[in-house]
Point group: C2
Chain length 142, copies 2
């Protein structure tokens, strides 16, 4: 982790009116380093048990609220999170990209270059949010 990245992490936190704490910086570092979606249990493993489970929960919830990360739906019981790259803010997420889950390596990634297609809903349904999760084989594993 370069000093440059560390500086941008503190900037991110300040921009969301969050105080700079070791846990928050570390979790953001993990997001940046991982370059993909992380599930909850990953943080404890990756961070080497250096902070409490409860703190991780609260930190992720805070990041979600502030529009720093977004959650990705899964068909298992874990929730995955990834950094918001567009300019999301508090109560105003607008990540409109597709998520890809590789069946080989298990990684889930944000396909930032994609956009979710227009969905034609039956009459009477109003859409607020659309989640598209594609599973298959990623370009590393093919």
């Amino acid at each position: 982790m370069s000093n440059k990245t560390k500086a941008s992490i503190t900037d991110m936190l300040r921009a969301s009116n969050l105080s700079i704490t070791d846990t928050r910086v570390k979790i953001l570092e993990l997001f940046i380093d991982s370059n993909g979606a992380l599930e909850h249990s990953s943080f404890e493993k990756l961070a080497g048990h250096s902070f409490d489970r409860v703190t991780v929960y609260r930190t992720l919830q805070t990041f979600l609220d502030k529009g720093i990360i977004h959650s990705i739906p899964t068909t298992d019981t874990s929730i995955r999170y990834a950094l918001c790259k567009s300019d999301c803010s508090e109560h105003d997420h607008h990540d409109h990209h597709i998520h890809f889950k590789c069946e080989e390596c298990g990684n889930t990634i944000c396909l930032d270059e994609t956009t979710v297609p227009e969905i034609q809903l039956p009459k009477g349904y109003a859409a607020h949010n659309i989640d598209v999760v594609v599973s298959g084989v990623c370009k590393e594993c093919k």
Copy 2:
């Protein structure tokens, strides 16, 4: 539950080479009656604690394996299941419809009349399955 439906339930089970047991019949009845997606905890409530939690888990897993039900991704930790209406079979699910989760009533339903759109993936990615979950307000709640 009419006798006619009961007969078709036993047919469903026989078609998948599953023995006819009270639990399996009851769970299929609940699916048919609910007309939507059920999450795990629903079964225990709806069935009035008439069978064990473990049995429910195993039954749902069996139904998933046999292509009788499909799972629907969520951003919470619950998994929702719904009956497959197309002719899915063991190891060969091909439900290509959109799922809708209502933010008002909380219900999740299969929009059987819809089809998932073509998704343009970046080079190197191979898609096996596409899940589209739209959240918003359903036609009952608007």
